[in-house]
Every structure is written in C-alpha cells, then in structure tokens.
C-alpha cells in the first residue's frame, strides 16, 4: 500500500522544526511502523538526504525507547501497543499520517522525533527505590506477600517509562508514570518503610521538572502501552495526602 507521511523534522533543540512530506511506496501490511520508517530512511540516505531520526531499541514493546505521536495519538491507533509493535495492517492504502515527537516542556526535542526523557530518571532518583544495599537482604520467603498484593504491584510495575502518558496528557502531566512506581512499591511490604517519604520526594521532583498538574482526564491511561490504570494516580494522591497529614501530626507533637 502507499501512504503520505508528514514527518516533523528538526535539526536540534536550538533550531525551529517543521513538517516535511514523504511518500511511502509499496508498504507491506506485515511491516511494523518503524520498519516502514526504515524503508523511507534507506531511500533518503541513497538520495543523499538526512534520514529521519527516531528512538527505538528492542522493537518488541518492552524497553520503552520508541514513541511517536501518530495522527494525534501517542503510539498510534492500536490500543495497548508501542510504536514499534504497531503494524501497518492497521492503516489503509492512501492514508495520510502525521508523525510528531512527544511534546512537553519536560521532554526537550533532541532531533527530529527524538526527545530527552531524562526527567523520568530524575524522578526515580528522588526515591523510586527500596534502599536495600547488596547483601543485606533477608531470605526471600521470610516475608510472605499475598498473591493479590504481588499481582497488583506487578500491574503497576509493568510501566516501561516510554512517556506516552505525558505526551497524551493535555496537561503534560507525569502522574501516570510516577504513580505507577509509587503504587508498585507501596503495594508490597518491602516498600512500606520508605513509603511516605518516597511519595513526597518523587512528587516534588516531578513538579520541579516542569510537568503539568493532573486534572483526571485519563488520556494517559488510554495511550499507555501497558494499560496502567488511573487508580495508580489516585493511589499516589492518597499517599501524598496521608504523608502530609502524618507530617502535620509529627509537627504538632
């Protein structure tokens, strides 16, 4: 099939970007979206032009490196699917496709469709861990974890850090990403000791990085390739309020 692409090209953070039109000829429906871009790039290179820069690595939907705004939907039309796992059979011959990078103040563009998601790492640095140094761990089965807790924790831990939630959110809020980590650890006994400290520190950095505030719109969850549920956001809200109340108590004592 043939498609018309409008791809965002931008040399670097400093320069202005713009859309450039490309024709994608005889694309196989079995190609992945990124393989379709590979084909375009091979042609561009042979024509002596600059290939389209886009982030990707595993190409199996788990590393979270890829991520494109495809016709206004983060990771494209298919639900619960990363860009690299999106296949061309979901498009029709003659379709026009707009391809944009994630857009958010906290995700500055590096080149073309490549953005800098370093803010996510800094949110984790603020407390997205259990402080347990190598060697200090007790016997694994010493502390039973109810299956439901483990499963709920796993649901939240499935986040691949792709940033689609931020890209899709009208407020560019990082609540779903941050909430998934908070919920993952807060749902396990191992996460309890640092639970409230963790949420306070992570939310502080999340805000400092310049993400917007959440107004419970829900675009994040619907764009999330791992279908992380909005209840991780409620969970984080609750833990932050509790943390504040707890602190307040300490203060008044």
């Amino acid at each position: 099939m043939n498609l018309t692409l409008h791809v965002w090209r931008q040399k670097n953070a400093a320069t202005q970007g713009a859309f450039v039109k490309y024709d994608a000829r005889d694309i196989s429906p079995d190609m992945s979206f990124l393989e379709m871009l590979d084909v375009i790039n091979e042609e561009l290179i042979l024509k002596g032009e600059q290939p389209i820069a886009f982030d990707h690595d595993c190409r199996e939907g788990i590393c979270g490196t890829c991520g494109l705004m495809i016709n206004g939907i983060a990771h494209g039309p298919q639900r619960a699917t990363t860009t690299c796992q999106l296949h061309m059979r979901h498009f029709k011959d003659g379709d026009t496709v707009y391809i944009e990078p994630w857009r958010a103040h906290a995700f500055p563009i590096i080149k073309d469709l490549v953005v800098d998601r370093g803010a996510f790492d800094r949110i984790i640095q603020a407390g997205g861990f259990v402080s347990v140094s190598t060697g200090s761990a007790p016997e694994a089965n010493a502390l039973p974890v109810p299956k439901v807790s483990a499963d709920l924790a796993m649901d939240a831990a499935a986040c691949i850090g792709c940033g689609a939630c931020v890209a899709a959110c009208p407020n560019s809020s990082a609540m779903l990403f941050t909430g998934s980590l908070i919920a993952h650890l807060a749902r396990l006994p191992q996460g309890q000791p640092e639970r409230y400290e963790r949420v306070v520190n992570m939310v502080e950095v999340m805000d400092k990085e310049g993400f917007g505030g959440c107004t419970n719109i829900g675009e994040c969850s619907s764009a999330c390739p791992k279908e992380i549920s909005m209840d991780v956001i409620a969970w984080m809200n609750r833990d932050l309020l509790r943390a504040t109340i707890a602190k307040g108590k300490q203060g008044s004592q």
Partner: protein, 659 residues
Amino acid sequence: MAIDTSVRPQTETGRSTADFQSTTLDANAPVGPIETRWDTHRFNMKLVNPANKRKYTIIMVGSGLAGGSAAASLAELGYNVKCFCYQDSPRRAHSIAAQGGINAAKNYRNDGDSIYRLFYDTVKGGDFRSRESNVYRLSQISVNIIDQCVAQGVPFAREYGGMLDNRSFGGAQVSRTFYARGQTGQQLLLGAYQALERQIGLGTVKMYPRTEMLDVVVIDGKAQGIVTRDMVTGKVESHAGDAVVLATGGYGNVFYLSTNAKGCNVTASWRAHRRGAFFANPCYTQIHPTCIPVSGDHQSKLTLMSESLRNDGRIWIPVRKGDARSPDQIPEAERDYYLERKYPSFGNLVPRDVASRNAKEVCDEGRGVGPGGLGVYLDFADAIKRLGAKVVRERYGNLFDMYERITGENPYEVPMRIYPAIHYTMGGLWVDYNLQSTIPGLYVIGEANFSDHGANRLGASALMQGLADGYFVLPYTIGDYLANLGPSKVTTAHTAFAEVEAEVNERTRRLLSINGKRTVDSFHRELGHIMWDYCGMARNDAGLKQALNRIPELRAEFWENVKVPGDGAELNQSLEKAGRVADFLELGELMCLDALHRTESCGGHFREESQTPEGEALRDDEHFAYVAAWQFKGVDRPPTLHREPLNFEYVHLTQRSYK
C-alpha cells in the same frame, strides 16, 4: 587462513598481555573441594580499606543486569563509579526483554533441587565446555540473588500462601525458575536500575546515557580508561579510571536478524579484543527455538516468545510434505509431534539447541508451515482443554497478545507458528575466575564475557549469571586487584588518551568520507545472511571456508562503498550503525574461524561432520575439551589461538542424551 599456535611456558598469572608464548591459559581458579573454593578464594583476596575506596574510580560500560547491578553494588561499597550506556536511560538495557525467568537453587518445591544439581545441570547443559569452579560459584550465589531482588521489590509471581512461585524451564526436570509474569528481565532490571538511580542520586555514580564507548585505553599493559562518543553532540571524550568493566551484552546482532535489540553491538568487546583481550569461543551462539517467523525482507529484528511456552504448548508439523491445509483441517493422525516422538522423556522440553535443530531439519524436509515453509506449529489446543483458557491466559497472556500483535493471528484459536532465531552468545571476552580479561584491570561481566554456560546456555540462567557477576562476584574480585595496585595516578592528560582519541576521530572521519553507494544496513543484512547460512544452526567445513572468503571481501567493499550521511558533530544514527557494523565485519570472520577449527559438535555449535547416528551433537573431548581464546594480531592477519584446558573433577564427561 592458517592458525598460529606458538608455544610458551605457563605464566603464573596467565594475564600478561605484551607477548604470548603460551598456548595454555590459567583461569586462576582456586583448588580444593569445589564447595569451599569461592569462600577460600574470597578469604585470600585483599580488601580495600573502606576509607580508601572513594579514591578509586571504576569505569562501568553497560547498565544492564550485569552493569547496573555491579555499578550500584560498587558504589554502595564506596567506590566512585562512572557508568555508560548507549540508550537514553539505563532502564532500557536489553536485559529488559528477558521474559521467561531466572534460576536459583532454592529448592522451594522440595523436588530434589540443590546447589549441586543446578551446578550439574549447567555443566551438562553446557555440553562440558564450561569451567567447573565458575559454574559451582554461580549455583551457590543463585540463592542470594533471589533474596536481593525480592528485597528490592521485584514483584515475582506468588502462590496463594504468599510464597514465591516457581516453574520448570527449558530442559530442567526441577522447578527452580522464578518469574514475574512474562516480564522477569524487565522487573529484575528495574530492580537493578532503581538501585543504580539511588546511587546516582547520592552522587556516588555518575551516569552517562546516550554515550557509546569506542575504545579502551591501555597504559603499561593495564586498562586505565576509555574513549567515548556523546551520541547527542558527537563529542569524543576520554575517561580515566583505576579499572574498566565491560558489561556490554552479547553480539548476536552479527546475524543482523536476532532477538537482540537493534542497538546491541560488539564494539566495546571488539575494541578491547583489538587491544589485547582474548576472545573466547566466539562460535558458541545459541539459537532460540520459539521465535516468531520472518514475514519478509523488511524484517528488522526477530521476536522471541519465552520458551516457557513449551511447558504447555505442543510442537508439530504435518506428516505430509507441502501439506497446504490449515492446521484445524489436519487430523491428529496426520500430525507429527516430532519432539515427543524422538525424545519421549523430555518431549517438547528438550534443550534449545536440540529443539532448534529439529525444527530446521523438518523444515529442510519441506514439511515446514507458513510463509516460505520456515515455521512449525506450537499448539495450545490441548493445554486450553486441560487447563482452561483462563489459566493459559494467566500464564502466557502477554505472550499471546504479543504474537497476535505481530502476526495478526489469535493463538487461542489457531496454533502459533514458530521458528528458531539467534538469541544468545555464549562466547565473549575470555575472563579468569576473577572475571578479569587478559588485560589487567579490564573486567568483563554478563553476556559480554565467555561466561559460565559452556557451549550452550540453559534457559533462565543468563539473568542469573549477569546478576551473580554484578551483585556478588565482581565487587569482591575487583577489590583484590585495586588493593594490590593502590589508587592510580593516571589522568586523561596522559598522552595515551590523546592517541586513542585521535584514532577514534580518524575512524569516524573515514566512515563519513567514503560516501559510497550502499547503506550501512545493506551491508549488515548481507553479513547476516552469510553468518546465518554458514555459521548458523548447522555448520560444515566447506560452508565455513566459503564464509571466510566472502566476509573479508564484504568488509573491503564496506570500507570503499558505504554511505554514511551527515556529520560527526550531531546525533547521527547512521554513523553509530556504521561503526558497529564495521566491528561485526571483523567479528564474523573470527566466529567462522573458531567454528572451522572446532571440528567437534558441542551444544550450540553443531558441525555436520560430527554427529551421532541419531543426528545428535557428537563431542570430541579428546581434542576439544578446552576453551578457545583468540588473540588479535591485526585485521587480515590470522589470530593466535590460546587454549584453556577444561578438566572435569565432579561432573563426569558423558555424551548428552535427551532420549
């Protein structure tokens, strides 16, 4: 190509890099009863005074399970760590793709597992081409890994009682595999990543994402630093340290199509090899039996589905050649469940190499299914009958979804189609018992070293090895080296750094200036075809010789005719690829050479000339019970072969048989 094997007297360290007169390498493996070797060794190692640790800088290249866990653990001990990765975040290392699980000899199932059994299974599974001391240590440590990961909050699967769940995995007859849905690697990596981020936050680790290592700097025979390229600005930089650790993963991408991530490369290892680190058993590559078949030339990578699928799925093909009927039209009687037929006791759970080779065989017979006849069925109909769709969904839901996403077929209704693909590389830089390469101060961990898996890796053992190296082995052994040496005075001001930087810049300039007629990918694809055809699932003398003629030609053409657009001072993905492919073009040749010299079959290395009447791999222990470690002598010059003899005091050499 002739192989030069000059003889020299044994050196006690076996580490000297300058000039080699010896054909035998010493692994520095401790002696004595195997159960106590690691303890004794740890006791004999020198310790670095806690107050002095911060005076040492360790350069960690790679932030996967091995690199991430090592960087975090070393920083916790008090060392300065500089950690590098080519992705935009350490969380994205390809360890994340591991699905099936991680082994540990916990014996929670009370089904007869033990450290000794895991050790035994690993040596046997590796077809007697691994080092007993290392494998035993690995089995011992396996139990601590699970403890550590659980404490980090890794959400392993649980039973209703709240205890950790296990499953049996590829070739093992005990249930010793721990898993987190189909995302075990992801969850383990996030655990290591979080530990790493914690240290980054504390300022003990300096992280360099989107930074590719392009060379090692060796001064007075010791590894003292690396030269890197900032993939965003193109800036080439030097970093000095007291020791350098490579945790850069496997080189499966030499085949172009593999289950590795697009960025996986051999550059770090290969550059170190060119500077004196021996490359061991390069031809030991593992083919994974349960991958999604190729759909066309556009294919950019292959997707693996955890072989845990083989626990409940049944593999079959039509009895008749070229049977074009849809699977549901083929009656039971006309189906050939060939693994169950040939290997009654293991059935669909035979080790990967056996399963893969059998798939290739039946497809070569023309009984394969799907496009191009390159596929066999993996059928869950019985499992769904037996367990119900719900249980099947619980166990494999995300794998089934992945399959449907890629193929557009629903595996709950039609059987999956699978075909083998390159998956793991047992070969890698040679390391001694301390995980130190033949360059003093250069350590290699994880898949990048030639590892503890011998000629074939058991399922769920790579995650175990990566984390064992990173959390529990390297932090001890590197201390011994540093304590003996004292903090080094070398800085990036040393002329050696300037020289290496110049070489790196020159190479970049050359790649950009060729401006030929072929893209980097087209060369990579062609190399991949050569490797897959002649150095893939089955190898023979004639084929390997042919490959050894074609690869140098292709390499020559690459350096005359490749087209790399753009310039070096920006994000330039073509340039990144070009550098990696250039190294693959040299590695590929060494792999074929190694495969050619090893005229026996063992594990993942199958030489058609050496097989049992039933078509099983036939080892030649008399001549090949050794590790082949190759020394670089220059491109287009034969490398030198060094042998590390393998002796088996505990697990006695037997022909592997899964009948």
